[in-house]
Subunit: 224 residues, 2 copies
DNA sequence: CCGGGTCAAGAGCAGTGCTCTCGGTATGGC
DNA sequence: GCCATACCGAGAGCACTGCTCTTGACCCGG
């Protein structure tokens, strides 16, 4: 291994270390984490961190991409064979489990956007990863006849939905894309509602209630 | 009008003015608005604002309560007579319209919680107001037979749901409460997804797609 | 062995939330 | 009508933030 790559490796390790500490700080400071505090925890000057990330936003972007990827991996790992309802619910619970384990990273990607922050195009790729997991499960169910397609969707919306399907190379009609998207948004909303405190002092049986909503999503997607 | 109440009125007006300016700043700074900037816009020293709000969090709380109330009022104003599906969808669109008109206030109440901020108990009252609108619409539909109750829910979750119904004086069985809550969470998630940018570069026909989701929620709530 | 690239450190700027003190003004009791 | 009192605004100040710039040290390749 040449010296240059050794240097590069050290740099990569340092970058990972900064991200790890920043992720820890995410838990207490939320999206407006303190770069100086991160540097303090690493035992180096705040200005040194700028050698690795040009700005706080760039660090945030790195954390966001990592979070999308980690969620995608978690969902993909939960893809099991079996009946549609079971596959869908298993993936859904995997998403919730990941969110409960990494609540602040969930807030980073699905919470209200950081005021001054503008997400670069780099984040859209990892973002669709988790949705594709559900899309494939639904497409499989439609193929086997376990789920119906639903009433056709035409017009401008139908055209858009068809374009989305084509863009991710998913052979599905617009109405299936719409159902998948709607179901995902419901899942996303259910997890956010739980994490963001809307169920506080209201529902303690969170997993049970989440499963209730997952069954609702399954029924909606599969309905004729 | 006595002198004392005149003083109180001046104070109340000043308080409202501060909140109005803070609401404007919410649009650019998000949840971490600058108290100093608000004071600057008002042409007074930052320390003077502390005569009206003991801290930035207290100002935020006031804005949150106002936002919940405004959303509740908007939803209540959209309650119309008619068939269940129309009533529900009208209220749903009213919620979305309000959110589109006040995106930053929506983010304040349904977005990721502000890091250091802890919502006091004062906010739970106004928060349920909008949900009650939908709950009453669903309860009416169940009463007229337009909507079914669905499979009974027992166990711990059933008990909790029954407790909620009792708490808000709504004569509805647990499964109806669960359906209402799930539908509301779906609406909430759909609006948040649209506002928080998850539909960017994906779906432009937002109102159409939202209505698609509203119809899904209606079907879910009414299904046998 | 030494020049160029990389890195960390420190000072500094403008901004933040919040506290304290200091004067001025209006209020309410006598 | 007078005066103590409560209220209110302004300013200075503290500790903190993101970020920039300069300075000096290090290491690696030619």
């Amino acid at each position: 291994m040449s010296a240059a790559s050794l240097r590069a490796r050290v740099r990569a390790e340092m970058t990972e270390e900064i991200k790890a500490v920043a992720r820890r700080h995410l838990a207490t400071d939320g999206a407006n984490l303190s770069l100086r505090a991160v540097a303090r925890d690493l035992g180096m000057a705040s200005s040194a961190v700028y050698r690795y990330f040009a700005s706080r936003d760039e660090l945030l972007t790195a954390l966001i991409v990592d979070a999308y990827d980690a969620l995608g991996v978690a969902a993909e790992a939960a893809v099991v064979p079996g009946r549609f309802a079971d596959r869908f619910r298993t993936a859904g619970h995997a998403v919730r489990d990941w969110a409960l384990a990494h609540p602040h990273e969930w807030a980073l990607i699905y919470g209200s956007p950081v005021p001054g922050y503008r997400a670069p195009a780099t984040t859209v790729g990892p973002a669709v990863r988790v949705i594709l997991v559900f899309a494939r499960i639904v497409a499989d169910a439609v193929a086997t006849g376990e789920a119906q397609s639903g009433a056709p969707i035409g017009g401008a919306l139908g055209g858009e939905l068809a374009g989305i399907a084509e863009h991710v190379a998913l052979p599905a009609p617009p109405q299936v894309v719409a159902r998948t998207f709607a179901a995902w948004i419901h899942i996303c909303g259910a997890v956010s509602a739980e994490l963001f405190g809307q169920l506080n002092n209201t529902i303690a049986e969170r997993r049970e209630f989440f499963d209730f909503q997952l069954r609702a999503a399954v029924a909606f997607v599969a309905a004729g």
